[in-house]
Amino acid sequence: MRILVNGERLTTDAQSLDELCEALGFAGAKIATAVNGSFVAAPARARTCLAEADEIEIVAPRQGG
């Protein structure tokens, strides 16, 4: 299916958010996630199914003021 990850188009076979994060190499990384504008907690990623055109955010700590 085709989805947007951090604003960029991506074609993936991942069925869940957890699978997607793992496929992108984020297993064990310090990240947080949102799907279609809503926060998805880490424990909920495995049961969060992905659908065509979903918009995923994967964020990490960064410098800030």
Binding site: N6, F26, K30, T33, G37, P61
Partner: protein
């Protein structure tokens, strides 16, 4: 010097420092150390699967051992700010959030309507909200009613280095909320601006650009640390009221050549 209290925690430094815009991670590390800041602000940004930039940054912050205050910088709606705050709480393991809802990209002024909306929802959800707001008293009242125990009015627009643009309103805010911790956040360009806020009785200052973009950020961080301390000490000591006419500091009594009497 009295300790700063924020949401039930005692904080050792009244200077809160941002972590953005330093020329190198090493410069950031040394500037934070020189500032003596116990609280540093951080953000959340999209993580690249290729570079994983955020992972290295987090290792540096952990090494510094500071308490982090995540922000919602760049959010333009309450919905975005709420989702960002929720991600930050999980990522950083803190209920503290520097809540920013931006109204205008040129002035970066707070959207106070979205701010109150987000602060209400986040406070109800167990967050300790530190809202980046204007000096407007009615907005401040709404934020306090929403559950905010700390307020962070701007001095002037973020990164502008213009200092305290509306001192009268900032003083009014201070007088109106004598018990609420008030932090001047944004617009501080020089240590004198920070000292001025502290002399007015503000509880702390939060700044970033003035240190990060200084010719020597480490030296500037130390300069700000001293200014904040000096301003606080002056406030606690009690400042002299300004007056219109001079008042001699040297005793008048016993001044030589002063005519008290005449012999004839």
């Amino acid at each position: 010097m009295a300790m700063l209290q924020l949401y039930g925690s005692e904080i050792s430094s009244r200077l809160l420092l941002g972590t953005a815009g330093y020329a190198s991670p090493d410069l950031l590390r040394h500037a934070v150390l020189a500032s003596g800041a116990e609280i540093v602000t951080v953000s959340l940004r999209r993580e690249s699967a290729r570079t994983k930039t955020g992972q290295g940054f987090w290792a540096l912050i952990e090494e510094l051992g500071c308490r982090v205050l995540p922000n919602t910088a760049g959010c333009h709606t309450a919905k975005e700010a709420i989702a960002t705050a929720q991600m930050a709480r999980e990522l950083f393991g803190t209920t503290w959030i520097k809540l920013e809802v931006i109204a205008n990209d040129d002035t970066l002024q707070p959207d106070v309507f979205g701010l109150v909306e987000a602060a209400t929802e986040l406070s109800a959800d167990g967050f300790d909200v530190l809202p980046y707001t204007t000096e407007d008293l009615s907005v401040a009242e709404r934020l306090v009613a929403a559950g905010c125990e700390v307020l962070m009015p701007w001095g002037s627009p973020i990164g502008s280095a213009r200092g305290l643009a509306n001192k009268t309103a900032l003083q009014t805010l201070r007088s109106y909320f004598p018990e609420t911790p008030l932090i001047v956040d944004a617009g501080i360009g020089a240590p004198s601006h920070a000292a001025e806020a502290m002399e007015m009785g503000y509880d702390a200052v939060l700044l970033n650009t003035a240190v990060a973009k200084a010719g020597d950020p480490v030296k500037m961080a130390e300069g700000f640390a001293r200014a904040v301390e000096a301003g606080r000490l002056a406030f606690e000591a009690g400042l002299l009221e300004p007056r219109d006419m001079a008042s001699p500091s040297t005793p008048v009594a016993g001044t030589p050549f002063f005519k008290i009497d005449t012999v004839s």
